[in-house]
Symmetry: C2
Subunit: 625 residues, 2 copies
Amino acid sequence: MRHSIATVCLSGTLEEKLRAAAGVGFDGVEVFENDLVASPLRPREIRALAEDLGLTIDLYQPFRDFEGVDDATLAANLRRAEAKFSLMVELGADTVLVCSNATASAIDDDARAAAQLRLLAEAAEGYGVRVAYEALAWGTRVSTYRRSWELVRRADHPSLGLCLDSFHILSRGDDPAGIRDIPGEKLFFLQLADAPRLSMDVLQWSRHHRCFPGQGGFDLAGFTGHVLAAGYTGPLSLEVFNDVFRAADPGRTAADARRSLTVLEDGLARRDAPPRGRPSVTLTRLPEPQTPRGFGFVEVAAAGETAAGIRSLLAALGFAHTRDHRSKPVQLWEHGPARVLLNAADPRLGHTWDGAASVTALGLVLDSPERSAARAERLCAPVLARRHDPSETPLRAVAAPDGTAVFLCPSGDGGEEPWLSDFSAPAVADVHPGGGPALTGIDHVGLHQPFAHFDEASLFYTALLGLSPGESTELASPEGLIRSRALAGADGGPRIALNVSLIGDGPRAGTAGGVQHIALACEDIIAVAEAAVAAGLRTLPVPDNYYDDLAARTDLPPHRREHMRRLNILHDREPDGGGEFLHFFTPLLDGHLFFEVVQRVEGYAGYGARNTPVRLAVHRTERAA
Amino acid sequence: MRHSIATVCLSGTLEEKLRAAAGVGFDGVEVFENDLVASPLRPREIRALAEDLGLTIDLYQPFRDFEGVDDATLAANLRRAEAKFSLMVELGADTVLVCSNATASAIDDDARAAAQLRLLAEAAEGYGVRVAYEALAWGTRVSTYRRSWELVRRADHPSLGLCLDSFHILSRGDDPAGIRDIPGEKLFFLQLADAPRLSMDVLQWSRHHRCFPGQGGFDLAGFTGHVLAAGYTGPLSLEVFNDVFRAADPGRTAADARRSLTVLEDGLARRDAPPRGRPSVTLTRLPEPQTPRGFGFVEVAAAGETAAGIRSLLAALGFAHTRDHRSKPVQLWEHGPARVLLNAADPRLGHTWDGAASVTALGLVLDSPERSAARAERLCAPVLARRHDPSETPLRAVAAPDGTAVFLCPSGDGGEEPWLSDFSAPAVADVHPGGGPALTGIDHVGLHQPFAHFDEASLFYTALLGLSPGESTELASPEGLIRSRALAGADGGPRIALNVSLIGDGPRAGTAGGVQHIALACEDIIAVAEAAVAAGLRTLPVPDNYYDDLAARTDLPPHRREHMRRLNILHDREPDGGGEFLHFFTPLLDGHLFFEVVQRVEGYAGYGARNTPVRLAVHRTERAA
């Protein structure tokens, strides 16, 4: 299918928007009138630029408050419309979006409105223009697709059809299945937008909080399936009003947008045939998604003293320094199945790592790295340069939206994973033998995201790795609220927690933001903590007030609480006596990185969010000290 | 009255919050439980710190979901409560906030709930603690103050009273007048929060969008008047959950908070006596607010070439360079009553001006500068150092929240304004004689605000200068949405437009943000524009597409449109044939400053907001070129 995007989705001038859309392979655009009005380019110049860029102009929008008016207003509206039709001829756009009248004075008279729409269509026909009539969710008289279809049916003119917008239909909770009853040739245009499920005024929700398909709470695949089943053959086109996208880099946003349609179309192609009829369009499938078996490794980069601190910390946690990379200053530390690569000085990845301690790469174990690499490429993921030494294992890596390198590692099929052969026994001096109570792997990784790209990262990881996003949680830090969303596989696989400052990367967000962490799993956290403390680890001090509160609100036996207090272990329990969670943290290393050790009891599925504000406050206190 | 603030209003650790509150003169605090739980300070240490800082701990909060429960839960809840009472004794807090049960399982049985609250009060009494019961707007069974009062009345225990929270009452649209019927001694605590009028889920509204009194849409003075009339004698205490304040500098936020209560109390003191009864507290009045007659001057600071550009621009607009400051590199430019001070190199104000062209000071003409200065001081406005040369006119100046210096200038009582005597005839070489079609003054000044301090600035200017805030408008710029609010006097006086990026001062917000402007008024904009262009002014080019759109949507005669097009004059009209607005802009100087010339016809009261996106796009295009 063809993919389009409305210029209002992107920041910048109209020219910048067109270039951004073309740059990521969109086929066409909807030109938003305000963008054209404010552009120094005349309609013919815009048309020429779009042609040069390989873009069609699929829609001119919006034309407002046309129908259901008195006769004097109708005359003025027709004059206004003809001016726009004439402009569209210059622009080379053959379809105009006409929104249902949202003024208080709109007249509740279907016959009048239909007759007026017919007059509009007759005028449009003379310019070779098609009118796509859309019910705004807040239209005064016409606010459902059923009623807009009723008017279009009644007006009965070949130049008049419908525009369907997923937001206007799904935000109202309307059942989109009825779309199947509309003849496909009357579906002139399809605008797609997702949105988080918010309980607020629908106009404000629409104007500020739309997002790309797969980033919100609507069933866009189901919706689009109905539209295709009806016989729609036009483009999948995004119309997303979003405060953050409006202010973000347009190239980045365009890539995010394009990816969302690629994923949507892939999802549609994978569905069983719709119960009635088949789409009359060809849907493009991507290579199958694949959930990794888990983390093969997590790589941390740190300079000088911080690297030394991480080595001490890993050693205290029982990690052994087992190997060194053959050609790079990278150490492999292992504790059972948990592997950490410590990269002491290698900015090879080219992303924004600037010397602050950071998680720079995730190694994910896949049955078929080739297939995931092919899928990643179709998801506009920048492929990172492979290692050049021909003797080394070729490892595919792609860059996630936040710059984290995602290595797609083949599994060892029971034997050693192939990438390990690039590591050999280390120089003896720096070896730590490891040991102590077992860690059982890497439980999750926490990655702080740049403000403008949180939803993009969420969609990227879920689409590439077959993970499911959990609910967003808001966490109170002493420097502002943090939004957190965990991505996890249905049956195991890696867990990734994405965090973002709620109000932007302002000057003060820098201190709350930018923090990343690695959470290690175990089955006996008391034993792990005791051994680690005995080996010199300083666990993050948890205030005594926390344990007083724990005593007040739980029935944990006093000796157990006291044990936890001594080791700075925090506690959570799922409601109604469900699973239990025990965890402790390390202090911040270099202000940006910490480790956590967690024990999940009886299938606890969360991340101890109720304790996160305590961790954040103590990290803040230590930073301030 | 005593003024308090909940620690949840401020960012930072508990210790930072207490220091910030004390730093601006609060009398007490509400300790938010989560802040205490996450603090390394034990309750006794918090008490000692507060005492050292001169703060009382007026409330411990919140205690949740106590009443309307089954007997097993009641026992656990009483145990939990006793632990908190015991903590409060250590903390030196004698009142606890108990919110109405918001769990789905809350039992709808007033007798049970009242009996349980009585048990709680009996337990509290043993610790010398008072229970202040509050109806949450989203409480499952108890969501109005009337019902919470009914339970408290029924429970009938001296240690049980009410907490009233303006948000929970006003957000529901409840009539607060009934508060007068509650005995004053049963009003244990008063929490104040304002909020913008939003149509959204009340819980989300409450948790993210509260603001300080005077910054939102509620009638806090009316509300508080009812509470005082009932005989409440406790503190005015702020409980404001706000995403922005949570991430802002706590000292700044505390000053803003304190100012809001000072203004609220002043407003209450100025009201007529309430119909029934008088407050049993003494209300502190500030010196009377005073609306300036207008702008005596606006000062612009600019370095080198930009200063030269501003001189050319002012000259082309018919300004005369009439005088120089006697001791500073400041030129006075005048065109009729419009005066611009051009400060070529003077960072004396000590605020963040860093060499980029900027509006650094507003000179406001007042009948009694002394009175406004005294009022400013009570509004926590930093007094700026007066000029030191004893021969110069003593001019009072205070710093607005964004750092702009506000000079409080005496009027000349018909003669010359006194501050002008600090300026003498200029060196001949640089004089421009001025002339041309008349400007009639400074219409308004547009000041971009730092993200976290928009509401603070709005409250500061309105409280100091007796201006009224208009509705907030959202403007689409190519770099994101901008929120704009104009402040104006009821009968003339200066107009100030405050702008702020909607999503924070992120890396990209810098380009849309930071822009300031001076709008000059005239009565014949065509003549002014023609003369200015003839004198070499380049007006900001307005796209031809704009005039095509203007033709489509208005009935302006073609020759008039063409005249406007040639001069880059934009047009707006109030709905229903009201006043008309004509204006043109200059290009950006130094990327941060521009001038505008406006003509208001027939009482047009706006600012041409519909044209602002065009101006923003052209400025962006010119910057990108």
